[in-house]
């Protein structure tokens, strides 16, 4: 399914990343987009339009998830890239790294149930005003897998109010009918938050894995909507 786009994707590999190949597969094999791997010691991101920080356990999750990865040489380049308006998407561990790096507000804590949760969940699209969700319908429900032990999103009251004011909450965990319930919250996240974007909207973090559901053979292809949104322009 090749597309006519020229958008170039880069997938960063940290020591301990383990969803890099899935992201590459989704973009290259499923979407027909140009994609390259970027080693964590790389400092030059020129030529890329969208950087993906993939899931995994960078630096063994030592200290806190994402705490060490944020000081990788590549993260200075990612910060510069983002400040110039470059598109950066952090998935799972990538989201945790973006929080630690201060590229997104808030922090991630241990799941409330204390267990690693690996299952399909439903998320509701809260805004289509991002480069990652513009091909979606507001209020639509996506079926998408999660796999994390530390996905309990936290922000203080002031930060939460700001997220709402600026329409930065991108996805919320929901029931299959789209209602936001405590039962649908797999990890204790504040207000069922599953994904947020930066105020400038070019940086997004999400705990669910769109790259793991971009191929109908894998049980759901709802994740394709993220890539289709990016490739639409």
């Amino acid at each position: 399914m090749p597309t006519a786009t020229k958008m170039r994707f880069g997938v960063v590999i940290f020591p301990g990343s383990n969803c890099d190949t899935d992201a590459w597969h989704a973009l290259h094999d499923q979407m027909g987009a140009p994609v390259e791997y970027i080693w964590h010691q790389e400092t030059d991101l020129s030529g890329f339009d969208c950087i993906i920080l993939p899931g995994g356990f960078s630096y063994g999750d030592y200290l806190r998830t994402g705490a060490i990865a944020r000081f990788s040489p590549v993260m200075n380049a990612v910060t510069d890239f983002a400040s110039r308006g470059g598109l950066v998407i952090g998935i799972c561990n990538g989201f945790q790294i973006l929080l630690e790096a201060g590229l997104l507000p808030g922090a991630m804590m241990r799941n409330v149930g204390q267990t690693f949760v690996c299952k399909y969940v439903n998320i509701r699209v809260e805004t289509t005003d991002t480069p990652y969700t513009r091909a979606m319908q507001k209020g639509a429900v996506l079926r998408i897998p999660i796999a994390h032990g530390e996905g309990n999103y936290y922000a203080d009251a002031e930060t939460l109010a700001e997220l709402k004011r600026n329409d930065q909450i991108v996805f919320r965990y929901c029931a299959p009918d789209g209602s936001i319930t405590p039962e649908a919250n797999p990890n204790g996240s504040l207000e069922n938050i599953a994904g947020i974007c930066s105020r400038e909207r070019n940086v997004m973090g999400m705990m669910p894995h769109p790259e793991r559901c971009s191929d109908p053979l894998l049980g759901s292809a709802d994740g394709r909507l993220v890539w289709e949104s990016l490739l639409e322009r």
């Binding site: 200290l63 705490a67 922090a107």
Partner: protein, 89 residues
């Protein structure tokens, strides 16, 4: 050379799910008086070189300031965690 210890815990305003789970387990063992159990991290380190004079009150203050910096930059996440620094005499 100085020896330092850093203790990091979740802020009091944040629910410590891990701490609550451990507290319940202690209750189940019969230690029903246990309350407000908070889990955290303990880091110990030796520091030398970087600071000119670590001896005396001034040196200690400077080291404490540097350890505070380390906590804010890396060792703790100030959004969710508090930290405490101790320097061995």
């Amino acid at each position: 050379m100085a020896k330092a210890r850093v203790v990091i815990t979740l802020k009091k305003t944040i629910m410590d799910a891990q701490g609550q789970t451990v507290e319940k387990a202690l209750h189940n063992l019969g230690y029903e008086g246990v309350q407000n159990l908070r889990m955290g991290k303990y880091i110990e380190m030796e520091v030398n070189g970087a600071l000119p004079a670590l001896s005396g009150a001034e040196g200690k203050d400077r080291l404490a300031a540097q350890l505070g910096e380390m906590c804010r930059k890396l060792l703790a996440n100030p959004i969710i965690e508090d930290f405490r620094v101790e320097i061995e005499d």
